[in-house]
């Protein structure tokens, strides 16, 4: 028999349980769901850009320079008469591409190098010194140097932004591998004769996934902002490739005439980075509150 208070609660829970599973999932981790929706929205904008955009993003008509938002140019035009609305949409593609590929690139290399460092004492010494060396050089300098010295393209931007992130991922992976290596289930696997590479792939790496996914989401977010910094310092993605970063960088000299050039891509970038950060936080709390929180 329940006290009236518990009985009352019971009915409310009953009603809650009738809701579809999705809504209950959303109620439990609002941060993740909000972030995911926002991110899907941005991804949709990027994917459907050609159909939504009103103009070709690279097409200049110089007569229409620096026009305020109008029927024809929804968000106005930039210093070379290009439509800001279309460029913001297409910019989503480049910025998201840069963000994702930097995250993937640094995560993959990070896993490989980190695991090797974690498992072989000899390699560990060498790798960690090189990593310390790379971390000692401020990330943005490494990126600007790379960008100005190698032929600028979206690919080089990705490499330039990913390189300074790799040491951080390697350090994280190495520390995780060192703890996982001591776990009994690893020793058990080795005891049953499974060869090292198999142990790595089947046992070690899956356990890295949780903190790595969370770290990758933060790298994804900071990479997009990093790209804006690179363009700001004059070493970013090529001018004719629209990305939020170089739109804002180009727009900064005319910001007092038409702040829309910085405002709209800024909002888009802000929202996307916010979305990715929210997803990162949500994943962290959902997947593995204990290990992930160590970040």
């Amino acid at each position: 028999m329940d006290t009236p208070m518990i009985a009352l609660l019971e009915q409310r829970l009953e009603r809650l349980r009738k809701q579809p599973r999705a809504i209950r999932f959303a109620a439990r981790n609002p941060v993740l769901v909000a972030g995911a929706f926002l991110l899907l929205g941005m991804l949709a904008l990027a994917v459907f850009a050609p159909w939504i955009a009103s103009h070709d993003p690279t097409e200049m008509n110089v007569v229409e320079r620096l026009k305020p938002p109008s029927a024809e140019f929804l968000l106005g035009t930039d210093a070379l008469g290009r439509d800001i609305f279309s460029r913001t949409l297409y910019g989503a593609r480049v910025s998201l591409l840069v963000g994702v590929s930097v995250a993937m690139f640094s995560a993959l290399i990070g896993i490989f190098v980190g695991t090797v460092a974690g498992f072989s004492r000899l390699a560990d010494k060498l790798i960690m010194r090189v990593m310390d060396g790379m971390m000692a050089i401020p990330g943005i300098l490494l990126a600007v140097a790379l960008m100005t010295l190698i032929h600028a393209s979206v690919a080089t931007v990705v490499i330039a932004i990913a390189l300074p992130e790799i040491p951080r991922v390697v350090r994280l992976v190495r520390s995780l591998v060192l703890t996982i290596r001591e776990q009994p289930y690893i020793q058990a696997a080795q005891a049953t004769g499974t060869r090292l590479p198999l142990v790595l792939i089947r046992h070690v790496i899956p356990n890295l996934m949780t903190p790595l996914i969370v770290q990758a989401s933060f790298i994804w977010a900071s990479a997009m902002i990093f790209e804006a910094y690179l363009s700001f310092l004059g070493a970013g993605t090529p001018p004719e490739v629209p990305s939020w970063g170089n739109m804002m960088a180009e727009g900064r000299s005319v910001v007092q005439l038409a702040f829309g050039i910085i405002l709209y891509p800024g909002i888009a970038l802000g929202l996307t980075v916010l979305a990715v950060n929210l997803v990162g936080d949500g994943l962290r709390d959902l997947l593995d509150p204990r290990i992930a929180r160590k970040l």
Partner: protein, 346 residues
Amino acid sequence: MTTPYPDQSPAAPILEVEDLRIAFVSRDGIVRAVDGVSWQLQPAEMLGIVGESGCGKSVSAMSVLKLLPGPPAMYSSGSIRFRGEELLTASEVRMRQLRGNAISMIFQDPMTSLNPVLTIGEQIAEVLILHQKLSKRAAWKRAGEMLDLVGIPEPNQRLRDYPHQFSGGMRQRAMISLALACNPAVLIADEPTTALDVTIQAQIMELLARLRREMGTAIVLITHDLGVVAECCDRVVVMYAGSKVEEATVDTLFARPCHPYTRGLLAAMPGLDMAADAGHRRLAEIPGMVPSLKQAAIGCRFAPRCAAAQECCHVTIPELVVVAREAPDHLAACFRACEAFRGELA
């Protein structure tokens, strides 16, 4: 062997728990962790609370000091009275005055129960300075005495050590000295020896018994180890699935257990004398699993696993009854308790 009672005058109990109900509210359902439990604790008495893990014994102990985290935990009814003062409705300020001063607690895992970055001396002195307004020097001196009391060699020197410099057993001793520093009336020990190995376990239990005698502290011992209960406790409460199923003095409980669950527990204990005619007999075990506490109880929670279960067991919740006139303080929550007392139950 039970220690002789101090003059057990039936004075007012120092701690009373009456029809306590605690539920944990979460989206997946309401867990009725404690479903109407009542027990009393006499001054300088040692009460054992026994039961499988998840039966609500720790929850009820923690609720005495209201240490359960607010939102999920909810006291849906009942009362806890310390020297007659109702604690459930007491203010947080009042509770803080009692915690560590009038009622204190020691926990199961000594490895993590002490703050790793503060010295042992600081952690003991802190409670003395807080509650007894001692000066820092006086508090440290008292702390040294406490460590000596619990049998830690060169106490004054060890005060400046950090927890990681103590062994498991010594940490539990430090925990005890910390808990008893302000000479509390009640000490709640939540499975103090489970994490220790047997030899240290015996020393800790012997220490608790000694301190109880010397300082007259009433102790509530929460454990799942019937051997420990048999050695040190005066009275025993057996809990199952959030409610009290049997209560008796240690002797009567071990001599004539009435509730089928208690009988099952005792049967499951491997006795030393059994080794002689071992013949590879399997240990007796209680079939089935502890029931989920997410639904309200309909009949007796133990019915599904109880060999002696009858029709009525599944329908109505058994009341606590006195098993026999000659043992007035032996209660059991089972319709067939009296039969069991008379030994007529299989």
